[in-house]
């Protein structure tokens, strides 16, 4: 496909200031991009987020299940995607705990368990020190097998996870002692960076027991187009990239502030919004660049005649 043949000449070659802008040295663009990301980071700029329908749906899904419900959080990502997904995980864990839900952690990605462990330490035990292992939360850890893990959990959870991550038998942990399959959960959330992840949860967990539980998901920006077809029919909530995380953070911190550690909560549940600062400025820069490029082209055309 020939889309771009005549660009090499740029918009340069004399003419007005605007027309010359079209052929501007691209290093100025680099500089502008660098600054638009660096300055918000240095100044810790935070812009108010207006929660979109998807973030609101996710929030409502966790709100609407009865207090003290059993919730399964799957950490299906690794450090490479933590920039986008960790803020979601933090906010979701705080949200669930603030609602008094009992949380079961697990991971389809090998490093997901470490991400979950970190979240337990940084958020769950930090802001909800009364949460006791075994009765209020359980860490099942990572199991190899990708979607096969989900499939087996859907029909026979104890067969997939005979023990928790530390090797304790499930029967010795009151929270999961009687759990037979995924229908024992009121809500399942997959924080997902790709395969295996949210898509597999929809395909293999939801189809096994569509009415039993609510499914929500947090996703990176790159893989979201694969998940959109499932929202909202099979997936009641979907957080997309840093933006989704920031919006969800807003909703959670607005309703559930921390009484004794407000500053720490603002930091731990503010990462998404801090990361949205550079996003907003950089996106506006890109929009401005596109407008500028076209203005320059039109200015050059009207001056130089048809080319």
């Amino acid at each position: 496909m020939d889309t771009n043949t005549h660009d090499r000449q740029g918009g340069g070659g004399g003419g007005s200031f605007l027309a010359r802008l079209g052929g501007i040295d691209r290093r100025w663009i680099f500089l502008a991009m660098g600054l638009s990301i660096a300055i918000p980071i240095l100044l810790k700029l935070r812009f108010p987020e207006v929660p979109g329908p998807m973030a609101r749906a996710t929030f409502d899904a966790i709100e609407s299940i009865p207090e003290g419900s059993r919730v399964l959080l799957a950490f299906d990502y690794d450090p490479a995607s933590a920039g986008e997904l960790q803020p979601m995980a933090n906010a979701m864990v705080h949200h669930c705990a603030a609602r008094g839900h009992k949380i079961v952690f697990m991971a389809l990605w090998p490093l997901g368990k470490q991400m979950a462990d970190a979240t337990i330490d940084d958020v769950l035990l930090e802001f909800h020190p009364n949460y006791a292992y075994g009765t209020d939360y359980v860490q099942l850890g990572y199991k190899a097998g990708n979607e096969a893990v989900v499939k087996l959990m859907a029909t026979n959870l104890p067969q997939q996870y005979s023990t928790d991550a530390a090797g304790a038998a499930l029967s010795s942990l009151p929270l999961v002692a009687g759990v037979q399959d995924l229908a024992a959960f009121q809500l399942i959330a997959s924080i997902s960076a790709g395969y295996p992840g949210a898509k597999e949860w929809v395909q293999y967990a939801n189809s096994a027991a569509p009415e039993a539980f609510t499914l929500v998901s947090g996703s990176t920006g790159v893989q979201v187009s694969q998940l959109l077809p499932y929202y909202p029919a099979q997936m009641e909530g979907l957080l997309v990239a840093v933006k989704g995380a920031a919006e969800y953070e807003m909703l959670v911190t607005a309703k559930y502030p921390s009484a004794d550690k407000p500053e720490l909560l603002a930091e731990r549940l503010g990462q998404g919004r801090v990361r949205m600062g550079p996003q907003l400025v950089a996106h506006l820069l890109m929009i401005g660049l596109i407008i500028l490029g076209n203005v320059a082209m039109i200015a050059g055309r009207s001056r130089g005649g048809a080319r």
């Binding site: 502008a32 812009f47 987020e49 959109l228 929009i287 596109i290």
Partner: protein
């Protein structure tokens, strides 16, 4: 014969067998076996790559070509890393077999290999990756010009998506009620509509086309019609 007919025969036969093997439960796993062989083959072929890396850089140094000192840096860092890794220098002993040096793990940050990975390899690759933020901006500036219908659609869509990605989208159109008949003017609505219906359709068709292309390319090779890989006629 050995140089021309045999390779074609090998290619066709191996291709055909693996095509059909998928359909029998007894032979389904052959594909995986072959891929495993390939991994071993690729590891053996590292000798070829390393030999070439050495040859290229040593030649630069010996003929004092411009930039020969950089070739030296490449070789030094190559040999250091290779030595650290192959000899498992400073490996953390395996708790179950502390006496076996080569059973230890060499990729924790406590060993030189792991240290170099963490503080040299990772930052370098991550920064190369991060450079894309700059190039995305310059590409958008240069290429998104409204020259014809096609380019207007390209840049218009990118424009809508970029706006909808940030709070700016909500700021501009968030006031339109979601259940009104003008809800389709909301940027977040447009973004979902574009990605869910048009982008999905486009990607589907591209994928279908690609699959057909893969079939035709594979068949051309298996049937011996495309022989471009054969040298020395």
């Amino acid at each position: 014969m050995l140089q021309r007919t045999v390779p074609i025969a090998i290619l066709s036969l191996s291709g055909l067998i693996l095509m059909l093997a998928y359909f029998s439960p007894m032979t389904t796993s052959w594909g995986e076996t072959v891929l495993e062989w390939f991994n071993i083959l690729a590891a053996v072929a590292f000798v070829l790559g390393a030999g070439n890396l050495l040859a290229v850089n040593l030649e630069k140094i010996s003929s004092r070509r411009p930039g020969w000192a950089y070739a030296g840096i490449t070789l030094v860092s190559f040999f250091l890393m290779l030595g650290f890794g192959l000899l498992k220098v400073g490996a953390v002993p395996n708790p179950e077999h502390p006496d076996l040096h080569f059973a230890g793990s060499y990729d924790t940050a406590a060993s030189p290999f792991g240290w170099t990975y963490e503080y040299v390899f990772s930052p370098l690759t991550a920064t190369m990756f991060a450079m894309l933020a700059f190039y995305v901006a310059s590409a958008a500036f240069r290429a998104f010009r409204a020259k014809n219908t096609e380019s207007i659609l390209l840049l218009g869509t990118a424009f809508v998506i970029l706006l909808a990605q940030t709070a700016a989208g909500m700021f501009l159109t968030g006031w339109i009620p979601e259940d009104s008949m003008f809800a389709f003017l909301r940027l977040d609505w447009m973004k979902v509509a574009i990605t869910e219906h048009i982008q999905t359709a486009g990607m589907r068709a591209i994928t279908i086309g690609i699959a057909l292309g893969v079939v035709a390319t594979s068949l051309r090779l298996i049937l011996g019609i495309d022989k471009s890989y054969l040298s020395r006629s």
